[in-house]
Assembly symmetry: C2
Homo-oligomer: 333 residues x 2
């Protein structure tokens, strides 16, 4: 999967010149939960909260500048050659033959970096959606996916799509195949709530990938693909109990959970409070639970936050339904 | 999966005494295609043709006899303690507390043994459906599954459900989990045709299992579960092209195909003639192709049979839609 030939994707040339010169846009893109317990590297979904925001302005001078980044504690580069947002936007501009465009970008991080919630994906997708909209490119948003994956490759070392695809399309997304890229949007029950807790500990994505076993037993793989088939069936059948029964992971969670404070205790708490399922979001350390109602989701986040406080670990919590919209324009100016 | 605790399944005691003493029944149960390329050990579907038939008569003397087996070239045991049909029926009778019942069984094999088409499953399911119907047991057919799996354990060395479950329910079936047993019935496009070719070579199920690798690479498993998730999505979405794209197997087919004469050449022929997908049925040597119409399915079976004849290998061919009914009563007397 490392060698995604994303440059081969054909982009229709439907890009109009900027209307009236100048102008800008303010875009939101959602956080995402990748893997979804039993769908390592192939499944993800978007949530309504948190998310990142990009403000993009057309300028007179060709090239991209980043004038401001907030909410990152100074961790992200202002150098446009090193920032995933500008790099992916630059790839897009080259692909549509618009390197004449001048852009200034403000990135407002509204969620923690290194949380396992697709932080870099949300920023990248917000940037790509901003430039697509600014340039009046009305082609299918799926055409942005290769550029977003290019950003992921820079941020995480691998061009995975299980965060960027749901950030871009909203909802549940299956990456059926990487070569060739084949993305399937999945339905989901309307009354599915997601409780997210981000324990403020450091789990870098690259390291979280490296601890995963390269060789596994066939019997565990069979268990895993029985479960992903069950989860996908449950999503189509709107069967929340089947979704819950299917969300088990015998391969990745046993390893990655070691990097998360009191993972199994948190699971016990959440499941005891009526969660449908509980697992790691992406590579962690964020954890998430599905619930059948908002109140249970809220109570679970409160209880888990309280538990982490007892361990002297700070946390952020979010309660959300599934985000079906993907990125959205907050304002044009 | 070897230790399926199938005896733990609770069977409701809704079994009435045989109505009027004596009496008999003639039942058909369908052949099945297990694995379905990317769903090793967890997916299967039933076809309309071929299938096996059981004629069962109530007798005055408690216990089971097998008076006749046809179509097996003398390969199956008449000893009721050694035949999968009688053994699974005996388990059922014990479970419902009806060991007082006397039965005579005729088994008419209408499909080749060792074909990879769920031959033993069809016989076992026909027998179980016959006794259930004879005794007026109106409980959910899913209650027969543990007994059918007991038969599979005897026939194949392992109590798998990917043939017996579709033979019992019809249609596409997912075995989401074996412990506890969790079976999901999947929809499918109505206009999906199945072309089956059984090359008359010997591939015993036990041996076909043993050559499968016990240890695999995570990256191959990820490819596989992306594909099974795609196949399940395609079934729900009635998207035959997605079904076709998803039916790839990087783990089992590369090994088992070695036991099948000219497997890759046959695939090339079938795909070249417009097949949606092509793969091994169960542990082989039967192969199957999905097509979008009956004519293409028929032409493919003819061409493949011709190819095998050129290799001096005899073959049986079948063209069928998906069987959604499962077992059926042909006659009562």
């Amino acid at each position: 999967m490392e060698d995604n030939k994303i440059q081969e994707v054909q982009i229709p040339m439907q890009v109009a010149p900027p209307s009236g010169g100048g102008g800008g846009i303010h875009v939101f893109a959602p956080a995402t939960v990748a893997n979804v317990v039993c769908g390592f590297d192939v499944l993800g979904f978007a949530v309504n909260e948190p998310g990142d925001e990009v403000i993009m302005r057309l300028t007179d001078k060709p090239g991209i500048t980043i004038s401001k980044i907030t909410g990152d504690d100074g961790r992200l580069p202002l150098d446009p050659a090193k920032n995933t947002v500008s790099v992916s936007v630059q790839h897009y501009l080259e692909s549509v033959g618009r390197t004449d465009v001048g852009l200034d970008i403000e990135l407002h991080k509204k969620m923690p970096i290194g949380s396992g919630l697709g932080s870099s994906s949300a920023s990248t997708v917000a940037g790509l959606f901003a430039i697509k909209t600014l340039l009046g490119d009305e082609s299918d948003p799926i055409n942005l996916l290769p550029f977003a994956m290019k950003g992921e490759e820079m941020a995480c070392g691998q061009g995975h799509a299980d965060n960027v695809a749901p950030a871009l399309f909203g909802g549940f997304v299956l990456i059926r195949s990487y070569e060739p890229l084949d993305v399937v949007r999945l339905p989901h029950p309307k009354d599915l709530y997601c409780a997210i807790v981000f324990p403020d500990v450091d789990v870098p994505t690259r390291e979280a990938r490296q601890i995963i076993r390269k060789n596994i037993q066939m019997k565990d793989a069979v268990t895993q693909w029985g479960n992903i088939a069950g989860l996908v069936s449950g999503l189509f059948m709107q069967d929340i109990d089947l979704i819950g029964r299917s969300m088990k992971d015998v391969l990745v969670e046993p390893v990655r959970s070691m990097l998360i404070p009191d993972f199994y205790k948190m699971r016990e708490i959440a499941m005891g409070m009526g969660a449908v399922s509980f697992g790691i979001s992406g590579s962690g350390p964020s954890v998430f639970a599905f619930t059948k109602d908002e109140e249970t989701a809220t109570l679970i986040t409160q209880k888990l936050q309280q538990h982490l406080t007892g361990l002297k670990i700070g946390s952020n919590t979010y309660v959300s339904t599934i985000n079906d919209a993907g990125p959205k324009v907050i304002a044009r100016f």
